[in-house]
Structures are given as C-alpha cells and as structure tokens.
Symmetry: C2
Subunit: 334 residues, 2 copies
Amino acid sequence: MFEPPTLKDIATALGLSTSTVSRALRDTYEISSKTKKLVLEYAEKINYQPNPSALSLKVRRSKSIGVLVSEVANYYFSQAISGIESIAYDRGYHVIITQTHESYDREKINIQHLASRSVDGLLVSLSAETADTSHLRDLHDKGLPMVFFDRIAEDINTHKITANNEQGAYDATVHLIKSGKRKIAHLTNSGQLSISIDRLKGYTRALQEYGITPNPNYIKHCNHGGMFYDEIESAVAEVMNLKDTPDAIFVGSDRLSVGCLSVLKNLNIGQDLIIAGFSNADVLDLFSYPLTSVRQPAFEIGQQATELLLQLIESKHPVTEFENRVIDTKLFVR
Amino acid sequence: MFEPPTLKDIATALGLSTSTVSRALRDTYEISSKTKKLVLEYAEKINYQPNPSALSLKVRRSKSIGVLVSEVANYYFSQAISGIESIAYDRGYHVIITQTHESYDREKINIQHLASRSVDGLLVSLSAETADTSHLRDLHDKGLPMVFFDRIAEDINTHKITANNEQGAYDATVHLIKSGKRKIAHLTNSGQLSISIDRLKGYTRALQEYGITPNPNYIKHCNHGGMFYDEIESAVAEVMNLKDTPDAIFVGSDRLSVGCLSVLKNLNIGQDLIIAGFSNADVLDLFSYPLTSVRQPAFEIGQQATELLLQLIESKHPVTEFENRVIDTKLFVR
DNA sequence: AACGATGTCGGGAACGATTGCACAAATTTA
DNA sequence: TAAATTTGTGCAATCGTTCCCGACATCGTT
C-alpha cells in the first residue's frame, strides 16, 4: 500500500541521522555543503516529499486554507475560486472548498469541519440564510485568521473585500431610469446579507436622485438566495401581479438574474420589461432577452482576498489594522 | 493562538490516562460504562475534536479525497462536484478540488500535490491535453485508490464511470439528420480524450446508418478543450469556410457548445444552421439561438464515482474486479 | 484462604518530522 | 604542542493519537 519515503529512509540509505537529513533539506545552516548536496540529490532521486501530517503536527501549520461559498456552480464564485487558487497554489497552499447551498446549518457544519481539519485560515462568503455569525466569531476570537469576501460579516473585525455593490446597483438603476423607466422593481437576495443591503442602498439612491419615490411593494427578497425555483417564481409573480405593474426590474444577484429571466419566459410575461442585474455569466450575449449586467471582478476579488489571508497567516505579529477593500464593478448595457 | 483541546487535556482534567480517554472515545472495548460516559460527556462539553494531523499520522488515513477536474466553472463539473460532496461529506470525508484548466503540466503538478497531501483516494477526469497517463499509473500502481469519471484513462485498470457518450452523440446526430440535415459538422474536444472518441463514434455511426459518408473535413478538434476563444473561433471558421458549407453542427462538449454559439454570433454567420451539442447548462432555454442539448447526469455520476472510490478505500481486501458503469444521457430538443 | 479468571486502566512505544543541546572532530590560536 | 574555538553531526524530546502489553483490583470458585 503506497508507502512514501521518509526522512529515516534517506538517513539509513546515506548512513546519516534523520536530524542531519532534515537540516540538509531545509535551510543550509550548520551543514557541510557535501552532505547537503548528497542529501538533496538523493531526495530528488527518490522524489521525497515530507509527510504533511507529521509536518503539520510538528509545526502546527497545515499549509491549507478553507473556502466557504454558497455554490460552486455559480458564475461569480467559480471565477472567485479560480482567483483564490491562482494565488494559493503559487504560495504553496492547498485550497479546500466547501459549499453551503445557502443553508445556515450547512454553513455551521462546514466551518466546524474546516476548523477541525486545522486549516491555517478561512476565506468566507456568508450563506443567504446566515443572520447570526457567532460560529465564525468564536473561531476568529480563538485566533483563526479569516478574510471575508463578497458577503461579509459586519461585526467581525478582519479584512473584508467586496465589489462596490452600492455603486454598481446605482449604475444599473440609473441605466434603467435613463431608458425611460420609472416603475423599477428590485428582486434581491435575503435582507440580512451585506450585498443585499448595499445594492438596495444604491438602488434607492438612484431612484431618489431622479425624483422617484421608492415603492416598498416593488422590493422582493428571496431568503434562500433563489435556491428553489418556486422562490423566485413567486417573488416575480407577486411583483408582476401588482396593479401598478413595474416596467423594469433590477435584480440583485447572479442566480436571481438568470432565474428571473427563466420565470418570465416560463410564465410568458414581461416581454416589454427591461431588466438589469448583477451577473458574472459569460453567456449573457446569447440570451434572447437582453440583460444589462453589473459584472464584478470576481477573479481579482478572489486573488486579493487570498493575498490578505496569507498575509494574516504568515504575519509574526498579531494584526490589528484591517483593510476594507472595495473594487469597482462594470456595467454592460444590453 | 487557537489551541484546541487534546486527549491529554481531557485526561488530566478527569484524572485518567490518555489511553483510557482514547478508548472511551472510540469503541466501547475494555472500558467501564461509567468512565466512558464521563469522558464522552466531558469531550462533548469542551467540544473535543481529534487532531486530524496526529490521527492521519497514526492511522495513515487522512479522511479526504482529491478531485481533479479541468474547470470548476463548467456546468458539468460543478454539478458533478456537488454530487461528489453530497456523498463524501455524509461519509465523513473531506473533498479537495483541483483544476487543470485543461493543461497537462498543471495536471501533473496537481496530482503530485494531492498525493503528497496524502489523500486517501482520487477522483479523476483527465485534462484535454493529457495523452500520457503515466503520472497517474505510477500512483495507482503504488496502491493509491483511484476512480475515473467522464474523461477516463483506458489503460489504467480501476473503476470507471461515464455517461453513454456514444449513444448520446448518436441521438443528437440522428436528431439533426431527421431535421433534414445531411451536411453535419462535428466540433469536439482533443482527439485523445475518451469522451471525444466515443462521441465521434456515435456521430459516425448515426451518419452511416442514414447513408451519409462522413466527411473528414467536417470534423474539428480543439486540443485545448476550448480554453482559448481563438481556438474555437478558428475551428468554427475553418469548417464554415469550406466550399461545401455544413448545414448543421454537432458539438462534443459543454464549453464548446456555448463557445460555438458565441463564435457564430460574433462572426454573424450560420443563422440557418441547426446545432446540437453536449451541455449541462441550465440556461439554454434562454438562448436566442436554439441549442438541442445532450445532458449528462452529472450529479449522479459524481455520486456514483464517489461511492465506488470510498468502497475501494475502505475495502480490507485488495480489489481486483472493477466496474465500468455507463449512464444514459438525455436529449433535449430545442 | 488461595487461586485463577475477568474486567479496567495506565505506561510507553510508535507514526514522521523539527530542533535545542551535547559532543566529537577539525581548525585556529597562543 | 596544548588549549581554545569552530564546525559538523547525532541524540532525544516533542507534537496528538492509537494500541500493545502489563498491572492490579475485584470476584467467584474450591
């Protein structure tokens, strides 16, 4: 059964002690150059790889980071994950990805899982259902490095990185207004999510700046993030069945943008609607229904989040100053 | 810094030895029920979690499996991954996902990474560039359990699970023929991939059964799996610039199906073409260009692959009989 | 009362790697 | 040439578990 070579194997093969071999393999310090070369060459030859379990038991570092997202099958997150991996692998870290499927219970389980798996740090984007973040705060208080991206927890003091959701929502809403629409509905994720709050702000600000009073009936939340089709359908149906039917919709998430289009198509309504929404899909140009999209720099967000996390992990001194990075979105008019 | 409780902590707190505590926490054997209860309750109270590094160092099991796919941002793979996780987590295994981005070099690196990380087994779908599978065969020969799904390696003797690619391709091609087309091009992945071979077979069989001689000029391979837009564009352009222009295209992969549509749109050609292709996208109904799709049961394939792998991992006796599961696809005419 | 059988528990050696300390050999210095 | 210093290497403890093995108390049996 697959027995990789150990330090001891090298030591006995070369007639040295494990300590000498160990020292030869890491820094040069206090080892003659001949034995060092000897060891390095032999290790190379037999393709020696230090046992990660032994190593992490000894140095209390697993060289791996955990990622918590709602869904891998999501344009935004899959791009963000690619960004995360691009940095992590370069720096020698493994990436363990877990999905919450927008469930709070699942989030708690996964976080527990990751912590017990002794990851060196966590990259977190909250689930749609998560209102209470104490499971994360506990770990953070115990000293587990943590960086939030996209859906952040306001009450945990650490690095956070998001798109400029408020501005992106503002831009999209203004686009709808400038297209001549004034009855603009807003379909969005669950209300406690930071992204929902910020996007709602941008939407409201745009309306107000153009002299439109926000209509509470026009705002529909999907508390499970649109994980169930019925959830989206009933939200869309409700808003479209109002006596004062909207003439445009601004959608606050990737999944909901696509979901909203599906519902409209299936219900065969809203042909005269114009729609704008957050989405990182790369197939929007192929849609029969034009969707103006707010695109987030997901890959870069993943990269920067990872850089900040590794910075935390590898810092010798406890970090007390935290960044709150906000990156601009881009509007694609269709 | 985040010091989780250890066996010794429990032992000293309760005035027992670590051996007793250890025994109490695993199976009942040789432990009085009172002390067992005592230990279990205390462990529960302080939320004891065994240190995974120590555990895997001791028992040579990491309780984690590695997954190798080309891209997470791919309808098929993201669904397969959800299937993998659904089984793995239930059985107490962690899932480490790595992406090759269709690169052979990256595949070697990732496989090496996973092996050195001492995963208990591997779930593999080859990259588009991979022709030589010796890096995998070496590990397999050393006893690392391995299951292939989707893009399998013919020359490695282990469990394999795929969709019925030959039949799916046949069905799609027949659909095109029955729609009155006889000049059917085939755009597909790199030639050495098992899925390409099988799908080409199905395509060819359909043509022949309907008395159409396959035209080699109609078959275009993308050796990088369509990772670069240019690759798809030139393949599509080449086949569309033939003097005997095709009147239909059968596309052999998810990425290429969407890519092909994008190219046609951007080049503003092929409006009278009809297209069928393998795709697990859930947004095809929203496309302006109808795409008849062959859908694979990705989630189930992921699940079954994981079950087979765990079976291999947890088997006491070396397994010599391997399965070759083939699961039916489904045709969605649009 | 003495014996073995049984049931509980602790001691301690692993697993593979790192690292402080000791110590021998080589080199320099007086 | 002897002492002092430097240089290179090995010993052994340690990280948190598991598990073999031995210790010992209790109990029933004769």
